[in-house]
Structure formats: structure tokens, C-alpha cells
Symmetry: C2
Subunit: 243 residues, 2 copies
Amino acid sequence: MARTNQSELSDRLGSIPVFRGLTPLAINRLANAATEREAGRRTRLFVEGQEVNEFFVLIGGCVKLSLLTADGCQFALGLVSPNEPFGTVAVTPRHRHSTTAEVVQHARTLVWTAAAMRQAFADDARLVLNALDLVSARLDALHVHFSQFATEPVQRRVARVVLRLPQPGRPGDAIAGSDCPISRQEIAEMCGTTLFTVSRLLCSWQRRGIVRLGRQRVVVVRPAALAAIANGAALRTDACATG
Amino acid sequence: MARTNQSELSDRLGSIPVFRGLTPLAINRLANAATEREAGRRTRLFVEGQEVNEFFVLIGGCVKLSLLTADGCQFALGLVSPNEPFGTVAVTPRHRHSTTAEVVQHARTLVWTAAAMRQAFADDARLVLNALDLVSARLDALHVHFSQFATEPVQRRVARVVLRLPQPGRPGDAIAGSDCPISRQEIAEMCGTTLFTVSRLLCSWQRRGIVRLGRQRVVVVRPAALAAIANGAALRTDACATG
DNA sequence: GCCGCTGTTTGCGATTGCGCAAAGAGCGAT
DNA sequence: ATCGCTCTTTGCGCAATCGCAAACAGCGGC
């Protein structure tokens, strides 16, 4: 790849979960085959339906995965955090992306071609196992997410989504120290609701001092209170408006 | 395993997608390690949270995968069809089931211990690739399912679920030639709604001649009409009650 | 400093879908 | 054949949420 020192890159790769435990040889080959790519807000790294020919790992910034339903309604699956691979881990040729990846905040990514990944899979069986574990874990997580989604009222879903939002300067979080602009519309798309409902809920939470709002910004002030809502504690929304 | 002829079993394994393309050696070892197990209605093959120590492939009958949400609400992810593996494909030790598998209709399964599966993964790298593809495909399918679920009104979700239900004697379907008893409650759990709403919708469809209903039974008479509903064609539910 | 654009708030009316209660129906057991 | 159990249907009222329209507000450009 371009600028970065090779062995430094190898070290970095080794710390990414999906590459953990690979042989030095495999890691080095991956490091050689990697390309670093930056992409600005609103760029699309790949689009739903397009053939899979690249594999991404997010290094910095924020990327949103979404898809379109048959009736043209957009639904967002969630945001990708740094060190997470995305795109598709699978290597079946001809496979097509089931989602669209859009950059929410200027993103730095490591990119491999599908061919390079197939080579890597062949180089080290451990990578396949890692990928399998990763995808399985995602599947499990999605099961849980789905079931919550299916059975919970909007208020709780929005609370959950907001809790997962990258927070400015929250350690270990998606974009430590910087802002990730997310509109009410985008939150609505992650919750399967409308921007109006999201706005109403957020405003009521702001009145209660649970969040602080701005244009394309939601800062969680009292995570515990929000978690309580997410877990079903608060039944009423608009009560105690002066809280 | 017990009764069946070994080579016959090997042949059968070879036709199960997840085992496709394995070396004869690996297939034979799998055939040797397999156990056949039958389980009656309402039996649970594994329970959410329990440690994964067996791997299943459904041969006949019908199994429902479900999970409990935090508030004790049951949600059903769907039904397993014959030749589908279930449980968890991943082999990470200590991994726990994220779902519960309950027999809906007397089921015949092939079972392997986690140890046997780990051995098989080691025997033939192709198995790991197959598993990765399988899990990836499921993840993609779940993304789509989820997004439909999140954006569509109840009516369409119920239509979709009913379309997927095993139909008596429909070729290639879950339980060719026999009935798979499913209650309104169970359909509701797959749709994220209540049994009342399901009942109302089904009755209105029956009045329109789209389905035929019985106790724990839904037979799709006009799949095309139901598909039209699933795709958003019919806006009104109760209109044209005599249709 | 003003303008225009995009994103946000809020009120209001219309629906959808829920929840309970009670009556009705299939099915197996005695 | 009857009983009892479970599953299903249906009526009715209510709460949650949507959808639109219009007013408001941050922010960059000129």
C-alpha cells in the first residue's frame, strides 16, 4: 500500500479482530495487498445489489449501512465502528452486496480486492475461522436486535439507537473526540419510524435533561436515564415536561 | 450412527448444502460421527443461553427458532426447513445459543457433537468456507427480512410470513404431504404482532378466498393474491368482505 | 448583515393496531 | 355422546404513531 510503513501496518492489522491469530506470513501479505482509502461525507463505498469485489475495514470516521425496501423506503441497519470489517466477509464469487455503505463522517478505510481476500483465505485457514466467528456473532446480535425491534414500542427503539450513537469524546466509541453528524431522519431510518416521532421523543428527553440537542447532533447527558427508557422503565413520554 | 447404512448416509450428507464439495474422507468421518435423533412436538432441542455443544441438520419435520425479549415477550425468527443446519454453525468453544429451537412437528435430525464438528472443520477447510457462505447468506437474508419488517405495516408482514409457512403437499416445502400445526399465536410471534390481529387478517383473507383456515392450520389457496398483499397491493383490509 | 438552504420542531387530525372480554369451535379423552 | 381444554373469532374502545403543513432555527455564502 501507499504511505504507511509496512511493519507498522502489519502490527495494526494484527490488532483487528478479524485478523487476530494469523500467521506472520499471512499478515504480511495482507499488509502488502491493502490499500488505504479516504472517503468524504455522503460518499458511497458500495451500493446494494452491486457485485462484491472489495473488502473494507474501517479505521476512522463513520459509515452507515442501509438498504432500500421494495417500496423505496430506506432502512438503516446501523453504523460501523472503527476496526470493524464491513462489506461482505464471504468470498463466494458473484456475490452481491445486500446493503449500501454511506460515509457519515469522513472515513479512512483499508481496502482489499476480492482476489486478495481469496488469496488470504487460502493462505491461512485461521482467517476463515475468524470470519466465520465474526459473521456468526453478527448473526446472533442481529437476532437479538431484531427481536427487540419487533416487540418494543417506538420509544424504546429510539432510546436504544440513540444510546448506540457515537458520542463526542466517549472513549472507545466510534469517533473519539469528534462529531458525527446524524440527522433526525437518519435516526428514524434506524428505528423504523418517522423523523417526526424521533423529534418529538428527543425533544421530550431534552426537556427532562436526558439529552442535549443540536442540528444533526444528539448528545446523551444522562445515559442511565436513557437506558432506563430503553429497558422499558418510563411508560409515559410527555409527562413531567418541566422535569 | 445407529441404523442407517453408512455409505447411504454419506450420500445423503453430500447433498446437504453445507457439506457440499467435501472430500470423501471428511464426509465419511462426518457420517461416522453423526447420530440420528427424533424429537416430538414441543420438545426443545436447545434453549437460548445454553452452551452450544451440538450441531443439527433437520431431515424431516419442522422446527421453530425463537427467542425471548427482555420483557419476556416471545419472538419467533422463523421455521427451519429440511436440509438446513441450525443451532450454530460457529465452533468457538463456550459459545452460547442465541435462540431456542422447538419442535413444531415431529422432527428427525442429524446431530453432531461440537467436538466432532471441530474435527470436521480441521479435516476439510472447504467445510469452513461452506459454513461461512451459509452464515453470510443468512445474514444477508436477515438484513432484508429485518428491513421489510421494520418498514412494512402488519398486514404485509403477516402475508409474508404466511407465504413462507410450510404448505401441505407443496413440493420442495418443509413438510411435503403432511401438516405442520401452527397456531395464530405462533404466527403472531413471527410477525411481531398479536394473535388477535393475525386472526382478523386471516379471517378477512378467508372471506376473500385467499386462504382456508382451520385450527392450527392455514392453507394458502391463492398464493398470487397473498403475494400481492405482501408487496403492498391491497391497501384496505376489510373492504369487499364478500369478494 | 442578509439570504437561502437544509434540517427541526410542533400542532392537529386520521389511522393503525392493541388489549380485553366473551362467545364460538375443533379435538381428544372418558 | 359428552366434557373439557385449548385455540379462534369478533366487538368495542383506546392508545400509539403516522402524516401533513407550517413555523422555526442553525449555518454557510455573498
